[in-house]
């Protein structure tokens, strides 16, 4: 049995229902949960911690059924977006709070130790409301980690921070998690959190878990258009024309794509392509190993920091491509240009 598992969890809150959620985590897994607002991500977390009683389903941790255990018996920690620090306690008292319940001695040393590792040791005497968001966040993290919970749940823990602080805090978070060897479930709207922290991803919508799996799987093989859009991939529908030694040729609305994935001729399939897996070129590239060279029209350029997202039209299909802004200048790309998209067969994934 896995370290942690949720089996067929159902929670009915009247207008909102969490439906048939099942997944397993191994020890030290880092799961990020993504999905649009109102999807039920917070409800999921709060049911794992024990504040919603499921109507159906079970939750196990370390082979123990905790579905009906009260929250205080579960030893699962939580960190919220607004940190929920206890305003009538000092920073020190906040961090020591859970530890005091566990042990009577060595509290001071442990609090100082974790405070140093999260760089908040100079704040211990302060009241929480006098701290900046980033500082409060680290206090909340220290408070949750110091009791060495079996698992740590975080609900958008970094979203209230400015980008620079967020990056720094993310680094501290990663170190702390690694040091304690904690298993984590982390809700986020920020793809950078996903890329830099997670090894597993779950996508929620309308109370259902649409997809769950290893980071690469979910991002490379999104199971639906909704997920593809959510994770920025392109999904194309087509029909398998040929299969040569396990290499499939797929007809997508009049152009051909070669995929290294196996499929039966005649089968209707969908393929997923990640935007960063596509190369653009001004001229038709010759003598290259990639299977797919597609003629395309550049429809739109959207700048996002150091990179730009290009929308290419190939026949009737739109494909999203991610390129560095410097590439944009070097190739002097403008909307309306005729260009070529190059994709390796291994990056055309049948989903």
């Amino acid at each position: 049995m896995s370290f942690f598992s949720v089996e067929n969890l159902n929670i009915n809150l009247g207008e909102f229902k969490l439906q048939q959620v099942s997944f397993d985590l191994d020890r030290m897994d880092y799961l990020t949960v993504i999905g649009p607002t109102g999807a039920g991500k917070t409800i999921l977390l709060e049911s794992i911690i024990g504040f919603w009683q499921p109507d159906e389903g079970r939750i196990y941790i370390e082979e123990q059924d905790i579905t009906n255990e009260p929250p205080e018996k579960r030893r699962i920690g939580i960190v919220y977006q607004d940190y929920a620090l206890l305003p009538h306690f000092t920073v020190y008292e906040n961090i020591a709070y859970g530890l005091k319940k566990k042990q009577k001695q060595g509290i001071k040393e442990k609090v100082h130790e974790i405070a140093i590792s999260l760089n908040i040791d100079h704040l211990l005497h302060r009241m929480p409301l006098t701290l900046s968001g980033g500082e409060q966040q680290r206090v909340a993290l220290a408070r949750a980690l110091i009791v060495e919970p079996r698992m740590l749940l975080m609900d958008e823990p970094l979203s209230a921070l400015d980008p620079k602080t967020r990056r720094e805090t993310r680094g501290l978070l990663r170190h702390a998690i690694e040091r304690f060897g904690t298993t984590v479930i982390h809700i986020t709207h920020d793809m950078e959190d996903v890329w830099s922290l997670a090894n597993k991803v779950a996508i929620f919508k309308d109370g259902c878990m649409l997809q769950f799996g290893a980071l690469e799987d979910v991002f490379n093989r999104p199971k639906s258009e909704f997920i593809a859009e959510f994770v920025d991939a392109t999904i194309l529908k087509g029909m398998v024309r040929e299969n040569r030694d396990g290499i499939s040729i797929i007809d997508v609305n009049g152009f051909k794509l070669t995929s290294l994935d196996d499929a039966t001729p005649g089968e209707k399939v969908r393929v997923a392509i990640r935007p960063e897996d596509i190369i653009v070129a001004r001229e038709v590239p010759r003598d290259i190993s990639a299977h797919n060279v597609l003629e395309a029209t550049l429809e739109m350029i959207v700048r996002e920091g150091k990179t730009s997202s290009l929308k290419l039209r190939v026949r009737d299909s739109l494909i999203t491509v991610l390129v560095a802004n410097s590439t944009l200048h070097r190739l002097d790309l403008k909307p309306g240009d005729r260009i070529y998209a190059v994709i390796k067969g291994a990056n055309v994934r049948i989903v």
Binding site: P71, E72, I78, H88
Partner: protein, 260 residues
């Protein structure tokens, strides 16, 4: 623009007019009587008895009200349970219910029913006694205190409690460590309001505890008894003492609200 201004001025005028009227009414209580007379009356045997009994019963009732309104407020704020709506209505009832009728109901309950007899056998006789004063005040003030406590707990983010429980503290421990300290100002505010309500309760006390001279005589009863004897001086003095107590209560209440 002109029309809008007219509308605005009219509304403000109405507010000012009513406020002024109220203010003059209250001020006249302090201006009409002779200061020496009031001073003399305050130290009369009857007034000292009444003031003492008022403060004593007021404090006891307030204590009881808090003992009950904190759990009631918390239950109404945090839990859903069958009969919750019913509990709310019944507890709120005294707010709109005529005081005299409430007193009558309590009189009947503690007078002749098995419940009254059960209390009586425990040495708790509420009919026409000082204990009755406390009970009457208790039921009059309870709805106000419960409401304030409920909205106080509504304002406390339950996630603070979630965090405390996830750190190993049981629900009662969390209540003591987190909810109650965070509700401190609400507790203060509702205690002050309760005390003011208790001190000023008349109708319920009159019916359940009786308005007996120097026995169940609290300030409102003193006011009432002296008015009916035509003893204006004593009546005014008890009125002034009551008003001062209320002002102090309101002042503390506003202070508590500010930091809430």
């Amino acid at each position: 623009m002109h029309k809008l201004n007219l509308f605005r001025s009219a509304l403000i005028l109405v507010s000012l007019f009513i406020t002024a009227l109220l203010m003059f009414a209250v001020v006249s209580l302090f201006l009409v009587p002779d200061v020496k007379d009031v001073w003399h009356n305050i130290f009369s045997r009857e007034m000292i008895f009444s003031l003492k009994l008022s403060v004593l019963t007021g404090l006891m009732s307030t204590f009881l009200v808090m003992v009950f309104s904190i759990p009631i407020g918390y239950a109404l704020s945090r839990f859903t349970f069958t009969g919750k709506g019913f509990v709310k209505t019944i507890i709120d009832l005294p707010v709109a219910f005529p005081e005299l009728v409430l007193g009558l109901c309590l009189l009947l309950l503690f007078g002749n029913t098995w419940l009254g007899k059960a209390f009586d056998s425990l040495g708790l006789n509420f009919v026409f006694t000082k204990k009755g004063v406390v009970i009457a005040q208790f039921f009059t003030a309870l709805p106000y205190a419960s409401r304030i406590m409920k909205s106080t707990f509504d304002y406390i983010d339950p996630r603070m409690e979630f965090v405390s429980r996830s750190l190993g503290y049981s629900m009662p421990e969390t209540f003591i460590n987190v909810s109650l300290p965070l509700a401190r100002n609400g507790v203060l505010a509702s205690a002050v309001i309760s005390f003011a309500r208790c001190i000023g309760t008349f109708g319920t006390v009159l019916i359940l505890a009786g308005g007996t001279y120097m026995k169940t005589e609290i300030l409102p009863i003193t006011l009432y008894l002296n008015i009916s004897y035509g003893n204006m001086g004593m009546a005014l003095t008890s009125g002034i003492v009551l008003a001062v107590v209320s002002f102090i209560a309101i002042y503390i209440f506003e202070k508590a609200e500010l930091v809430l």
